[in-house]
Symmetry: C2
Subunit: 348 residues, 2 copies
Amino acid sequence: MIDQTRLPAELVYLRIRDVRALWTAIQTLQVRGAPAIGIAAALGIVIAAQNAAPASTAKLAAAVEAAADYLATSRPTAVNLFWALDRMRRVAAASQALLPAVFLDRLAAEALRIRDEDVAMCKAMGRHGATLLRDGDTVLTHCNAGGLATSGYGTALAPIYTALEQGKRISVYADETRPLLQGARLTAWELMEAGVDVTLICDSMAAHVMKTRGISAVMVGADRIAANGDTANKVGTYGVATLAAAHAIPFYVLAPSSTFDFSLKEGSQIPIEERGSDEITHSFGRPHAPKGVKTFCPAFDVTPARLITAIVCEKGVLRPPYETSLKKAVAPTGDNSSPNPPIITRGK
Amino acid sequence: MIDQTRLPAELVYLRIRDVRALWTAIQTLQVRGAPAIGIAAALGIVIAAQNAAPASTAKLAAAVEAAADYLATSRPTAVNLFWALDRMRRVAAASQALLPAVFLDRLAAEALRIRDEDVAMCKAMGRHGATLLRDGDTVLTHCNAGGLATSGYGTALAPIYTALEQGKRISVYADETRPLLQGARLTAWELMEAGVDVTLICDSMAAHVMKTRGISAVMVGADRIAANGDTANKVGTYGVATLAAAHAIPFYVLAPSSTFDFSLKEGSQIPIEERGSDEITHSFGRPHAPKGVKTFCPAFDVTPARLITAIVCEKGVLRPPYETSLKKAVAPTGDNSSPNPPIITRGK
């Protein structure tokens, strides 16, 4: 996978061969973006089992459990991580009676299925989200919820890519997204690579841009969405949503239904990761703040549902009240649904 | 004066000996902060006249005019620059009949008077502003409107210093203030030097901090205030004001009355400086954004008067409607007022 910490200076691919290296890659944001973290974790479970082989199926299953417990400690906020690990655990549990080689095949198939589903979900989100964009629109986005955050088109950027394929002209303002500059390093990079008209701004300029530059819509991703629609995403999203409401600009969250967490009634229950002060006080390892300064560095914030115009998932454009629209979107409807909502399985 | 671009790594004093060096110091933000720019420009006029001597008074006066025209091109938004240059021009015009040495003395006295008035105005703003703070309050500020931005206590930080002297316990959250990190480099530094409990955050975290950390008030400076109270200040201020309103947190602007510009009816008439894209795309000279990325880099934004709870100047705490309260604050009231409002002269 691409080492996202090296972009945009260098395009470097990482080869991950053990679970410890994967844990570090997730923790240090070499791979980031909620869907991409989930896919990486699922593949990490396969690596754990492969590294334990040859051994009995019971031993492989134990290795899977240990790896899942370990990888679950890498980052706390994005629910896709736990969702993907749970899917892998369930496949392992259901495969205990199989030969070791078949057990491994089942795990690999599930991990690749998670990846393929992600590609399909991104395309579906792009299709649904593009209905919200007209020719000539200008979208403001925060952080990176593009192809780099997924294995496909991305979530927040998927409607932009789809709209462009449909011949619509779409411009983008990208918040640089302090402290780690995912907007400057990743979003600007991938949109420029795709030939999209993108303008980079500092996060603090978003309000002025909304007032003076004709923003048609805000589109962002999500790391976890509570049952009532409250949405955890990269810190700064809540501020952007508040500013969008003040300027009567629609605010859209784009995320696969694997991001929905029905075990949480509202956003205040979502754990918010705090990261090290170096992310605020240093650039390229050099300090730009006084030595020993106290910092507060939440990696995420929670946008209340009332500020969200719509949540776009692979099932469609969901509108308030989200208590009902989110549940309805993931309810079993027949041939292509999982028996265990909120997990959506596809292509079976 | 302190080279503010070297802080907090190094405390370096600049010796400015010619007008060109001063123009560069203002343009490159070695000296920044609206009041400090005005004082520096006034002293620059003295330098220009000193460097032209020995010569006739007419020649010195011509040097003053040329230097004032030149320094006025260094930065466009802070009105204190033009205000200070106009004061120096008027003293020069009124001193044309004097001997060269006396002409020089008059100029130097006026420049030092501008500086001394600034010290007194900062103290007065601190006294008035401290009435808005209670023991245990937490203030959020944006950019640097502290001692470094003035020749005294600062503007936005003056009430904090005064409240602390009064024995109140005040904590501060400082927005780092991208792109040039004046909050991280300057505000955090000077508050730490003064022993104030300060926590540094990224600009994008202000909304989350307002929601979760009990912010009592926002205090910011200003670069220009139109007749209706619309206020230009460091980019991001308008966003912070919008967020403060959404969280029912009082939003205070602190600025000397020299910041009032009654020639402008409203904020949309204030010229907004745009700066180079390197400020967004590079850190310490190293790029962190893709090469050639398009940027938009306004240095200021305009906060509409309706979002401002009060404007604190050296005359007191001014409340809406600002059309009347601003004018009233600078109206001639007798012994200590200038005959030419909005210019306040003191200590005569």
